[in-house]
Symmetry: C2
Subunit: 200 residues, 2 copies
């Protein structure tokens, strides 16, 4: 059995959302599973010196158009959130709490959170909102809300982020296939080519 | 007759080089010409706050691998230059001097300069080297060398760069098709789709 494809992303990243919508089907075509690794990209930005695209002069205006165009091309429901970027601690902590306690609910909750943010414009940086949305997968909302404040989940989110940085992750989405790193939803075609050919 | 596709690039940009190799064939498939607009990207970086990829922590290591992998995928001869980025004033000034005096030599000279830098590892930031290489298209080398120091060519390079920035250009390559902006060689598939469909 081949190793899973490591999929690093930030909940605040539109291109991470696009990859979340597209990567599972690509992986499945090659019989591969996906390891979903939400992270706190701000910590990587502190090292790389990068800033969130929407905040950069010149790039910010371009980025909004590019996101909307990409969503149309790939037929992904998408609306630029009124607040972007956001802090993503709450959804990250909920994701890892689910991984530890109800693993089968983790990916459905991630997709529900992404959809809430990038389609319904709900502010998932707010712990109450994040818990409300994730509870839709069938987990008690107050348990999820507690997870957003639990010291062990704060530490877990930090540790997962550090582990990602230690592997060279600096952006979202960031995909590692059999040790080979691919940054950006615009590398998904190369990810597929890599899976098809075993490397080029 | 449709307008040309505006192609902005920096001579120091590997992805600009890749686009230079790939864009003409894409444009030709849709009966479109390309307007080649070399520019001094550093001036745009001062506004956007961006830095050259190879200089960024984390991103730099990734970028080298990404460039080499893209070149293999697209079967483009490529070697990471020993010095990257470089200042690109000399080749930009030569390009616009040719546009004004021997327009048909401009693109061949650009391709020769790009090839010298990204295949043969020659430092085209050096005016003597740039003039040597560009002279291969059949223009006197000393005339080209003089162009690299001519006040009107210095002003032209600045003006072209400012005009690019005024249109929102902040990276290389940057391609504008009928008013629609595309940043990055990884957007060439979308450029082609745009040409094919008239917009999506």
């Amino acid at each position: 059995m081949a190793d899973p494809i490591d999929f690093y992303f930030d909940f605040s990243s539109p291109y991470g959302y696009f990859a979340a919508k597209r990567l599972p089907a690509i992986a499945a075509r090659y019989g591969r599973s996906v390891a979903w690794r939400p992270m706190l990209l701000g910590a990587a930005f502190k090292i790389s010196g990068a800033r969130a695209l929407p905040l950069m002069p010149l790039k910010g205006d371009y980025a909004r158009n590019d996101m909307e165009r990409a969503a149309r091309l790939w037929e992904i429901p998408f609306k630029v959130p009124s607040k972007l970027p956001i802090a993503s601690q709450a959804p990250v902590r909920i994701s890892y709490w689910l991984e530890s306690h109800h693993a089968e609910m983790k990916v459905p909750a991630i997709m529900a959170l992404y959809h809430a943010f990038f389609v319904d414009d709900r502010d998932i940086s707010d712990p109450e909102t994040a818990a409300d949305i994730a509870s839709g997968v069938g987990i008690d909302r107050d348990v999820l809300l507690a997870a957003t404040q639990a010291p062990e989940m704060k530490e877990r989110a930090r540790a997962e982020t550090q582990a990602a940085i230690d592997r060279g992750v600096f952006g979202s989405p960031f995909i590692i296939v059999d040790g080979e790193p691919f940054w950006g939803s615009d590398r998904l075609d190369q990810v597929e080519k890599w899976l098809e050919t075993g490397g080029f």
